[in-house]
């Protein structure tokens, strides 16, 4: 090829590229992103995230599944479309006793399954007992562990009974034997809400001791506890049965939960898909195949019509639904997709009407998409923070941990991250009306240096000396993800700028990362993405550090902290409880097992003709309120106002 020809070719290729880039830029200056013509009728095409692992509401743990489950199954309570507060579902009204350890739900009498069968309290009892059976191996069963003996059932536990007297050994006896204070019994004052029954009296008997049913495991546990051996000696073991747990159908339309301890956030838990009611006969008849189209019986506003994995889940309006008159969407097609660019392409071409949260690529936002009127940016129920290893290395020193948290400019991080907002505290502010987080960490370089000098990293004159900083004992360990890498690099630069130290980065594949973090097998800093709240209450965050195991990931466990949390949860007055929880959060931040960084915000797209769909803090939508508006005059002109709790279709 001659030189001239080659040049011409290069010019042509570059020209094409510029043209293509121009198309993108032009599109993004528009008010709306791409095509805005609604599909005919009342059909919604929604991208919900990954392919659902299961359509069984008691089996699935993720958000993609939750959104589909909301359409097909209804629980006692439904999510408020804007605030996610509990609103009536199958339950018309509800009440709790004084210390929130017992909840009674009164069910509406006209609720029906999609095959016409009545939904009664017994169906809920079945649903919850089934979800907790250990053979089902549900990974979200822990959502129901607040119910008395639910955890015991789920772990395959057994009560300990004296074969001669028939008396059960009590948990308090074991606690006394181990030298711990006996657990407080929840108050029994629930009879005035619903009639007292034999089961009710039984479940309120002092808590029984539970040991593993499995002989080997029991032997292990008995060995570990010094005096347990004496208590179980010569006794028989009665496996915990589904009938033993604290959920009771007082009558067909009254459902009572007895909890193992005061749980003021229990209403928020019952909105989870784990508590959404399923049809016993169908489940027992078809086994694992009960969720297939053709077999499935639904309880929600919509019912399953088609499921082709990795292609679509289609639900259509359920004519037997008790509130069918309000339901406007005839059909919802859920598209399982994970490629962000593909999602945005489909949205722009008008092939989908709305997407799930965090579906917009950061580069597109920077290119201007965040100014588009169909972009949903509102506070989210989540918190982004890094964990510190409090069991080994320099991060065992509280002063050192605080210094790390104090030498970060969160405002700069917010500017860098585009979507998330700065957050120096742990619980995200702005989503829980009435809860006031403590001020938390702000940039204070001098303070940080002082703390580091106190911790021993100082020169002869007592000032902080970067060369003494234990860089070799630290690593910013993050799991593979583009955004984690960016934040990790940003933070590395922050500490370099403010403290003059360069902490090395270490990238770990995601599945391995969580195991390492749980084992505290990291040097100093675990830079994961953070935590999304399970329900709308500060406890969903603060509770993470009430146990040394689980998702704690820091090794920080402080009995004083746990006591403070328990005291707050016994408080019936919500305003007072929130004040107490705020103090708990302050105590946590003062000990700094974590470096709070950001609070996430929603980041998704919705066409202006989709109404009743709001950027709520959990991106969980009650589909019964959603509809397609064909009258262009009534379309959204901006992101819906989230400060006003009224919603369309109310």
């Amino acid at each position: 090829m001659s030189k001239a020809k080659r040049l011409r070719l290069i010019a042509q290729v570059v020209g094409c590229a510029i043209l293509a880039a121009g198309c993108v830029a032009r599109a993004q200056k528009q008010e709306w992103f791409g095509v805005t013509s609604p599909p005919p009728g009342q059909t919604l095409r929604y991208i919900t995230g990954a392919e659902p692992e299961s359509l069984d509401p008691q089996m699935s743990s993720g958000q993609p599944e939750a959104r589909i489950a909301i359409s097909m199954f209804e629980g006692l309570l439904e999510y408020h479309p804007k605030t996610l507060e509990p609103i009536p579902g199958v339950a018309e009204r509800w009440a709790s006793n004084g210390n929130a350890s017992e909840f009674v739900f009164f069910l509406r009498r006209n609720a029906k399954f999609s095959n016409g069968d009545d939904i009664t309290a017994r169906d809920f009892v079945y649903t919850i007992r089934r979800g907790l059976r250990p053979e089902l191996a549900s990974r979200v069963a822990f959502m129901a562990w607040d119910i008395k003996y639910a955890e015991a059932l789920n772990e395959g536990g057994a009560f300990v009974r004296d074969p001669k007297t028939g008396r059960f050994v009590l948990a308090s006896e074991a606690a006394e034997a181990e030298g711990a204070a006996p657990a407080q019994e929840p108050s029994k004052a629930g009879e005035d809400i619903a009639p007292d029954t034999e089961f009710h009296r039984l479940i309120h008997e002092p808590e029984r001791l539970v040991v593993p049913s499995d002989e080997k495991e029991r032997a292990k546990k008995v060995k570990a506890g010094t005096k347990l051996a004496g208590l179980v000696e010569g006794k028989e073991f009665v496996p915990v049965k589904p009938e033993d747990i604290g959920v009771e159908a007082v009558d067909d339309y009254t459902l009572r939960f007895t909890l193992k301890q005061p749980t003021p956030y229990f209403l928020g838990i019952t909105q989870h898909q784990f508590f959404r009611v399923i049809h016993e006969k169908t489940v027992e008849r078809y086994g694992v195949n009960w969720t297939r189209p053709g077999n499935i019986v639904c309880s929600g506003s919509h019912m399953l019509a088609e499921h082709t994995p990795y292609n679509q889940v289609v639900v259509v309006k359920n004519p037997k639904y008790w509130d069918a008159a309000r339901v406007r969407l005839e059909k919802i097609s859920f598209f399982p997709l994970e490629e962000q660019t593909t999602m945005m392409n489909l949205f722009k071409a008008g092939e989908v009407d709305a997407t799930y949260n965090h579906s917009v690529p950061a580069s597109w936002l920077r290119a201007g998409l965040r100014h588009s009127k169909d972009y949903m940016d509102a506070p989210e129920n989540g918190s982004q923070y890094w964990q510190l290893n409090t069991k080994q290395g320099p991060t065992t020193d509280k002063r050192f941990r605080k210094a790390l948290a104090m030498s970060v400019d969160r405002q700069a991080l917010q500017g860098f991250r585009v979507v998330s907002k700065a957050n120096g505290a742990f619980v995200p502010t702005g989503i829980l009306p009435g809860y006031q987080s403590p001020p938390g960490f702000t940039l204070d370089v001098e303070g940080a240096k002082r703390l580091l000098a106190e911790a021993g990293y100082k020169d002869a004159s007592g000032n902080f000396d970067p060369s003494k900083f234990p860089v070799k004992d630290l690593e910013i360990t993050y799991n593979t993800s583009e955004s984690n890498r960016q934040v990790a690099e940003f933070m590395q630069a922050q500490w370099k700028q403010h403290l003059g130290v360069t902490i090395p980065l270490r990238n770990i594949e995601t599945k391995s990362f969580f195991g390492m973090r749980a084992r505290l097998d990291y040097k100093g800093i675990a830079a994961g993405a953070g935590w999304s709240g399970d329900y709308m209450d500060p406890y969903t965050y603060l509770g993470l550090f009430a146990t040394a195991a689980g998702d704690n990931g820091t090794g920080w466990y402080d009995p004083k902290y746990v006591k403070m949390l328990e005291a707050a949860n016994r408080e019936a007055d919500q305003a007072k409880r929130y004040q107490m929880l705020s103090k708990v959060e302050e105590y946590l931040l003062d000990n700094a097992p974590i470096i709070p960084l950001l609070k996430p915000a929603t980041s998704w797209m919705k066409k202006p003709y989709v109404k009743g769909l709001y950027p709520n803090p959990g991106t969980l939508h009650a589909w019964k309120f959603v509809y397609i508006e064909h009258d262009q005059a009534k379309w959204d002109t901006a992101m819906p106002d989230m400060t006003n709790p009224h919603y369309d279709g109310e």
Binding site: M1, K5, L9, A20, C23, V24, A27, G34, V35, A50, E51, E53, S54, M59, S61, P134, E135, L136, A137, S138, R139, A141, F142, E151, N154, E155, G156, V288, N289, T291, R292, T308, P309, Y310, N311, F335, L337, E339, T341, T342, N345, L346, K348, A349, E351, E509, T510, K511, S512, F514, G515, A518, G528, A529, A549, G550, D551, G553
Partner: protein, 308 residues
């Protein structure tokens, strides 16, 4: 040795080869950290125990290994761990036709366009047509499909709004056009170059000169004599090409959100979904081995010099 014996022997070798591949894959899955039920959230030990018991993960490794191998020999790969109401066989039955439709269309398109382009280029060697065709093929080879796909989407779906940008619309449908184009481009390029090279060599050989000397028309020379020899490199390319096609669809299926095998393969690996990974690996390796065998057999028909 008869042709039948040859095929039989090759088929018999296929079985242990697939077993070795599966065994290696199994070992690699076991070596990789993490397991299918682990997520961002640490599961309470009770729940982890329940899950492990349900899926037989609490048994010793040789018991699990024996079970896996038994399943493979019976061609029943068991249930997926992640999508528990589906068997791996059902997943394969549903997804293979999608990937096969994509792959076959792409390869047929590549054959037609590639051979035409290559032949024309060879017949008009060093002409503008030749240079144009070879520039195009150079682009085709050096342009990865994850770049080409989005460019095609940008032009045809997002600027001109002619074609859907993604998702499966059944077979045949307009939704196939962009992924098939994306997938076939690189093969088109290879085939065109192979055809050109093969044809150039053949066109200079003695038997073509003889054919021309006998007074055959140019069309007869090309179609009846030159093509047969000139396309041999394309035939031998088909074996590895079909293997490449399988890995190629993984990317294209992802970009265009096609419910094919590739999407499952990626997610099965990320999810550590052992039965599904093993099922797909076994299926893929069998396909590759069988295609290679078919290519070898086809060789004998096309090239009279090859005998078994």
């Amino acid at each position: 040795m008869s042709r039948f014996n040859f095929i039989l022997r090759r088929l018999l070798v296929t079985v242990p080869m697939v077993l070795v591949v599966v065994a290696l894959t199994w070992a690699l899955i076991r070596l990789a950290p993490g397991s299918f039920y682990e997520g961002e959230r640490k599961l309470p030990p009770t729940i982890e125990k329940n899950i492990r018991a349900r899926y037989g993960l609490d048994q010793p490794w040789y018991v699990q290994y024996g079970k896996v191998m038994g399943n493979i020999l019976r061609l029943d790969f068991g249930n997926s761990l992640r999508y528990e109401n589906e068997t791996v066989n059902e997943i394969l039955r549903r997804t293979v036709p999608v990937s096969a439709a994509l792959g076959t269309c792409a390869y047929l398109l590549a054959l037609v366009v590639g051979i035409t382009l290559g032949t024309v280029a060879a017949l008009r060697q060093n002409s503008k047509i030749d240079y144009g065709a070879m520039t195009l093929t150079m682009l085709g080879i050096s342009f990865p499909n994850f770049v080409l796909g989005p460019i095609l989407v940008l032009v045809f779906a997002l600027s001109l709004y002619w074609l859907p940008p993604a998702r499966w619309g059944g077979f045949p449908s307009r939704s196939l056009i962009l992924p098939v184009l994306t997938l076939s481009f690189i093969y088109m390029a290879y085939i065109a170059r192979l055809t050109r090279a093969g044809m150039l060599e053949v066109l200079r050989s003695d038997y073509i000169r003889t054919a021309r000397a006998k007074g055959l028309t140019e069309a007869q020379v090309v179609w009846r004599h030159a093509m047969r020899g000139g396309l041999l490199p394309v035939v031998s390319f088909t074996g590895p090409a079909l293997a490449l096609l399988i890995s190629g669809t993984v990317v294209v299926e992802r970009i265009f959100a096609m419910p094919g095998l590739g999407n499952y393969f990626i997610n099965a690996n990320l999810n550590r979904d052992e039965p599904l990974i093993l099922g797909i690996v076994a299926f893929t390796s069998m396909t590759v081995l069988i295609f290679n065998l078919l290519v070898d057999v086809a060789y004998a028909y096309i090239d009279p010099r090859i005998r078994y």
